[in-house]
Amino acid sequence: MSKPEVFSRQWKVDTENFEGPLDLLLHLIRSRDLDIYDIPIAEITSEYLKYLEIIKNLNIDNAGEFIVMAAVLMRIKSRMLLPSEDPESEEEESAEDMRRNLIERLIEYKRFKEAAGVLSDREERYSGIFPLQQYPVKEFGQEVEATLFDLLDAFRELVANAREDVKDIITEEISVEDKIRYILSILEKGSGRVEVEKFIENKRSVMDIIVTLLALLELARMRQIKIIQPVRFGKIFATGTGSSEPEPAPGSDG
């Protein structure tokens, strides 16, 4: 059978949710009314290979996984055709052992599929139960962590405002290490979250603003603080992560 145009390589099937070779075998067993505990290898292999042809044409990314399974089936089939002189021979895996292994894998996989079904049922049943105080935003994280870009946006605005007054920016020098210590000392005093702008001592100094940004990024990287934005596009806050005693800043020389 020649393959239709649509099955050409121009598109790819996303396989994350696509069934694998074991699903195909289970499907064959079911649809051909076969006994999973006593799979007729010859029959299932030829059926499987028919599907494999289609799968190859579909250009799905896990076609390789299907091919591996085909090889397994064909190996069992060919070995079954060979007369075994000594059934007790332990030298090589017998066809029967291989077949048993495959059956065991299939049964195990089938059990997990059943388990997945149990979970789906529970999902259905429990998805309508809402605990108190649970606002859906919390689905993906207790507090919405600000992205780097949120933070950069906030600081870009600050820098833009600071530029109006540029005369005194060269005079003072603040190090990132000092700023880190300053930020930690403010956060240690408690009061939970502090708006990041509060860490800027001189809002007209571009230097101060930039150093504050770098210090915040460094602290966030070291997981000493968490940068959060409770409301989307709203103000950005920093909080201590609570658990840790502050480590000395890297490269700090007092």
Binding site: T15, P21, A115, A116, I129
Partner: protein
């Protein structure tokens, strides 16, 4: 029970109720007991049980749910429709089949590596696991001390909450799962062969 004892107990029950009310995540009886000081864990458990019955019999839309090793208040499923509306258009997200399979394997076999999952599923599963990590249904539980030190995964408390489980041990034993279904299939098949309508009468009995 003496009247004053009864009164004290009722007051303690109200304290437990207050704590459950404000807590976003399930509270264990131990945690409640530590907060209350006056009540030890076994008393707290009794109070929780009483509270649960109280809510169940009162017909309130909220009930006391035992989940993820703790207790919490939650709305009953009958009210889901309105709660969802309140959370304006909050879509009902369902996990994919691949995610469910992977979660099931992690839940029953934890801690497991990506490779363990793939061995059972027969397909690559890294992306599915990453998705589950993002949804906080699974977490990293260290590394397996073998070559390559692959990451081990476990299910989270959120997993238990999501599926209304008290613990992973609440899941039905894996060995029973396949069999049950198989028996059901055999019954179905026999019914089909004998061309008998099954118990639900709406099937046409030709």
């Amino acid at each position: 029970m003496k009247p004053e004892e009864k009164q004290k107990r009722a007051r303690l029950r109200r304290v437990v109720e207050a704590l459950l009310f404000v807590s976003a995540s399930p509270l264990s009886s131990g945690r409640i007991s530590r907060v209350m000081e006056e009540a030890d864990t076994s008393l707290v458990r009794e109070l929780l049980e009483e509270l649960r019955q109280e809510y169940d019999t009162s017909g309130k839309p909220v009930f006391i749910q035992k989940v993820a090793g703790g207790w919490r208040m939650a709305t009953r499923p009958e009210y889901a429709e309105w709660v969802r509306k309140l959370f304006s258009g909050d879509m009902v997200l369902r996990l994919s089949r691949a995610a469910m399979e992977t979660l099931a394997i992690i839940a029953y076999r934890q801690p497991v590596t990506t490779q363990d999952v793939e061995l059972i599923r027969g397909v690559s599963s890294g992306a599915v696991i990453r998705g589950l990590l993002e949804k906080r249904l699974v977490k990293i539980a260290g590394r397996k001390e073998v070559i390559g030190r692959p990451i081990l995964y476990r299910t989270t408390e959120r997993f238990l909450e999501y599926f209304g489980l008290e613990s992973v041990a609440d899941l039905p034993p894996l060995e029973e799962l396949g069999i049950e279904r198989e028996i059901q299939e055999l019954i179905d098949e026999r019914d089909k062969k004998e061309n008998r309508p099954d118990r639900s009468q709406d099937q046409q009995s030709a």
